[in-house]
Symmetry: C2
Subunit: 240 residues, 2 copies
DNA sequence: TAGTGGTCTAGACCACGGA
DNA sequence: CCGTGGTCTAGACCACTAA
């Protein structure tokens, strides 16, 4: 956070973190109390608290009012996948807009968008390419709004959440992903220059506004020989 | 974080968050300065800073020293997948330990574990079942340590990171996931009670210690008709 | 009762940015 | 120059926990 790492509170946090990371303080054990640290460093309590706050936020410590601070057990339960559009889940990819049209929603599409079957939906079809060739087909759906032409430029270069947010003139609140495996259909395989029946990743993304209403849906199929998703899990939020 | 939501700093944060969420403060705009909030609420600067700190940590605001606080643009780039073992990526699953044995590492396994081919590796094979039947096969590998019998009880109920950490007597630092799509092999399909050539999710997990050394590797194949991974992306870390 | 963390105050000095 | 946020102080009162 701070550019200068020379702050005293920062030093307090580093020292405590070091004790935790080297096993001098084990999960479940009590960390030094605030007053002990005030004493040890010869600084004021608020400064000590600022340092401890970094470790609490980072998941290293948790506090029990009336008792003290305890060392938290590391946990690797949350996988984080970097889905920045320009890097396409960690890899550089060239995005090409193939087609924009409108379709009438069938039952499944209507269910996803929480609208009625027969509703008019805007559809965008994109291809993602790496140097080796086509990697994925992405099909994105937005509610159709007449009199609001979308700029193809934007469609091609902005990521889906941004397009959907601008299209609906709202702020996005949440995005939900579903990741599965499918066999490529004939047309999909053709577009991806491979054989039908090849295994592919299928990544669906549903966008919601603050009211929990769906703003857009996308379905992407990826040649699994050219692309795998990667994610990491860290026990701590690195802040110190 | 705090049990009582009646703290003044908490109120400051809530009020600012409300302004951001309702569009009264737009991304890129400058938030009220600390001194303005001191004035407006009639409280001291440190209390104001505590409130603002919640929003900064939550990703609502960022500070530019010498200038002020700005409203951050919401970003949905980080997908979070809850991989708690007992819920198996969000779904309840019965885990059965099928076999524990030792194998000699072939080239690919040796590469994953960063050891030499021919090295002895401990292998655990598990099956995951839902009410509908078998869902996934999980094969886990740990470096073999003689004289350290693993308790089958633990193997069955503890999650892989915990087993690996205890086995190697270290603290885990990181876990890396690779998610792809594969076609089920004959034996896999048989164990999963389906046909060879069915599409399946393949989730690999590599565990590292603090020195970046691999501590364990697992490969799981999941019937995609019975299981899909789900993840969410939130623009903000909810703290207020 | 003594110790803990949670909240809050009213100051202070600093580095940085912009007019 | 003044306003901004970043750091730090030396107190205070509170609710809670444990002995």
């Amino acid at each position: 956070m701070s550019a200068r790492m020379t702050a005293i509170y920062y030093r307090v946090a580093e020292d405590l973190k070091e004790k935790i990371m080297t096993g001098k303080l084990l999960p479940g054990e009590m960390a030094p109390s605030e007053s002990q640290l005030v004493e040890a460093y010869g600084i004021s309590r608020m400064t000590v608290r600022q340092g401890i706050g970094l470790l609490v936020d980072g998941g290293y410590l948790y506090s029990v009012p009336g008792k003290g601070y305890y060392v938290a057990a590391p946990n690797l339960d949350k996988i984080i996948i970097d889905a920045s559009q320009d890097r396409f889940f960690g890899q550089k990819m060239k995005v090409t807009l193939k087609k924009v049209d409108v379709v009438t929603a069938d039952d499944t599409l209507a269910a996803k968008m929480e609208t009625r079957a027969g509703e008019i939906i805007l559809r965008m079809q994109l291809t993602l390419n790496s140097r080796e060739g086509p990697v994925a087909l992405d099909c994105r759906y937005l509610p159709y709004r007449k009199g609001e032409p979308l700029l193809e430029n934007e469609l091609q270069y902005a990521d889906f959440p941004h397009i959907a947010a601008r299209h609906s003139k709202v702020v996005l609140a949440r995005s939900q992903f579903t990741i599965g495996a499918v066999l490529l259909a004939v047309e999909e395989a053709k577009a991806l220059e491979t054989e039908p029946g090849t295994a592919a990743l299928c990544i669906e993304q549903l966008l919601f506004d603050r009211g929990g209403k769906p703003l857009g849906w996308s379905r992407m199929v990826c040649r699994s020989d050219r692309y795998v998703m990667t994610g990491v899990a860290y026990p701590y939020a690195e802040r110190v």
